[in-house]
């Protein structure tokens, strides 16, 4: 006689649930908990040494040269976040608003704005690195061709333009994502609301600020939070375009590069330090979690249910 239906049902649920749960426990939860624990130990290469309390945190936050590097990289991440907020999310909102009109060709424009999003960051980074080459890059060649040779710059080679160049490359790569998330939000606004607005005002500005913007608030929450997390995890674009050291002289150094250098060592052969690296990871992690939590909470509060 087969087992009671209740028992076999419980067994069946376990069969379904245990393998994925075990997987997430081993490869997500355990590493993240370990990441916190590791920061409190001294490390000799790959071997864990004695418990050192907050020494690793003290090292990266308050002793030189780490303290300067940490602040320098962190401020660049803050800068990147705000710049991309305007260039990527702001432009994305504008483009979404334009696409929403469904004018002839909208389908083509939608496909092309999203095309770079599917490319690997490595490809995008190399492509822009070649374009921005001081002598042979298409950007400077174009400026010279237009008789604007004065605008030709060593974009990635000087402090004043290097970080901006990376930001622009990133915006080109990712602008399609906020665009299509905002567009989906706009398409969910009920037609009756829009008709009612059309009776009240002809001002496009009023329509955007009073109606569209508040009603796409859920999209904004998602897009802002993802950009925040992405900005403070930024790694591939700077790695490919300016290298591990954040050249020139740290002008493009960001937390991702700095963390990688500290944990795994850099090209010039300086050693790896898992202790300081783990402390940095924990600090970045806690910062991202706290701020992303606050952003989500604050933005959720202004979302309106239609």
């Amino acid at each position: 006689m087969p087992g009671s239906p209740l028992v076999s049902r419980r067994l069946w649920i376990s069969v379904l649930i245990v393998p994925p749960l075990a997987f997430v426990a081993l490869f997500v939860v355990y590493p993240i908990i370990s990441a916190f624990a590791y920061a409190f130990f001294h490390w000799n290469g790959l071997a864990r040494g004695e418990f050192v309390g907050f020494a690793n945190f003290y090292k990266v936050l308050f002793t030189q040269p780490y303290a300067d590097w940490t602040v320098n990289a962190f401020l660049h991440n803050v800068w990147v976040f705000f710049a991309l907020m305007v260039l990527q999310n702001g432009l994305g909102f504008l483009l979404a608003y334009c696409l929403w009109r469904e004018l002839p060709g909208a389908a083509l424009h939608r496909i092309s704005v999203f095309l770079p999003v599917v490319l690997s960051t490595i490809i995008v980074g190399f492509l822009w690195k070649l374009f921005l080459h001081p002598l042979f890059g298409v950007v400077n060649i174009s400026f010279r061709g237009l008789g604007l040779g004065g605008l030709a710059q060593p974009w990635l080679g000087q402090d004043s333009t290097a970080l901006w160049s990376l930001i622009v490359a990133n915006a080109w790569h990712m602008v399609g994502f906020p665009t299509l998330v905002f567009l989906a939000g706009m398409q969910r606004i009920p037609g009756e609301i829009l008709d009612a607005v059309r009776m009240e005002t002809e001002s496009e500005w009023t329509k955007i600020t009073k109606i569209v913007w508040p009603l796409v608030a859920p999209s904004a929450t998602v897009v802002f939070t993802l950009l925040f997390v992405g900005s403070f995890n930024w790694f591939e674009i700077p790695y490919v375009m300016v290298g591990l050291e954040g050249s020139p002289h740290g002008a493009t150094d960001v937390l991702g590069l700095y963390f990688y250098r500290t944990a795994f060592g850099n090209m010039s052969g300086s050693g790896q330090d898992f202790g300081a690296g783990s402390a940095l990871a924990v600090l970045i992690f806690v910062f991202i979690a706290l701020v992303a939590g606050v952003i989500t909470f604050k933005l959720r509060a202004r979302e309106i249910q239609i």
């Binding site: 076999s8 049902r9 069946w12 649920i13 379904l16 649930i17 393998p19 994925p20 749960l21 997987f23 997430v24 490869f27 997500v28 355990y30 590493p31 993240i32 370990s34 790959l46 483009l95 334009c98 009109r101 004018l103 060709g105 424009h109 496909i111 092309s112 999203f114 095309l115 770079p116 999003v117 599917v118 490319l119 690997s120 490809i123 492509l127 070649l130 042979f136 298409v138 060649i141 994502f177 299509l180 998330v181 989906a184 002809e202 496009e204 859920p218 999209s219 998602v222 897009v223 997390v229 995890n233 790694f235 790695y239 991702g256 944990a263 795994f264 783990s278 990871a281 992690f285 979690a289």
Partner: protein, 287 residues
Amino acid sequence: MSAASQSYYDRRGMLATLGKDGLIQIILILNTVVMLAPIVIMLFAAFKTNAQIFQSPFGFPDFSNFANITKIWSQTNFLRYLLNSVIVTGASIVVILTLGTMAAYAVGRYKFRGSSFVLMFFLAGLTLPLKLAIIPLFILMRDLGILNTQLSLIVIYVAMGLPTTVFIMTGFIATLPNELEDAARMDGASEPRIMWSIMLPLVRPALVIAGIQNVVPIWNDFFFPLIFIQKDNLKTLPQGLTTFMGEYTTDWGVLFAGLLLSSAPVIIVYIILSRQFINGMTAGAVK
């Protein structure tokens, strides 16, 4: 309101609309040019010599000049990298969809104690950037003896992909109607049989969405191979790209050809399936 003034207002409205639409079209066309120009320049440059690239970067190339592409094909490990990417991405997607559907089916179809805890457990992984746990992951992979194997990548991609997949699939599976399932149960069908023959065929659209959402970041990932893989023969395409971009620094035609060949598979599939790609990749962000 008289008929005349009515038509006056209409016309003013129409002109304003035309002006607005014109402006919108200009913005969209400009943007499309900015989006596509780099890709077109890359495509052209892949068929040019250095001199042609520097003298006329926008000029039309001789598309029968395959010198650069042949060089990539024959002198680099490009095909090996491509194959590695296919293997790693394919295996990861199969495991993600299998495990993800299992978990989502259990949570979405059955009421059991702790089901909401299980869901929370998966969703916790949604917002946590796993990159920051790279040091423990590196040590874990070493202890498991799978550093420098494709298994290390597959495992990490499955871990990365499961949370979103469980999220998408649970939402979908929970909305499926009960009638079919109940009827089959009355007929004495076992639970596994109900899942396999009755419910799974219904979740195919969600599987496509979840698959695309995972396939693009996995195919494009660079960070985990950078840490886990040293052997040239195991490198994936983005990682291999950094290798041969380093070797051909002065041969620009070859560099562009490398970028073109690496991006071509994704671009071609995207153009064919753009709607599914857009839906899939924004699925987690669009409610």
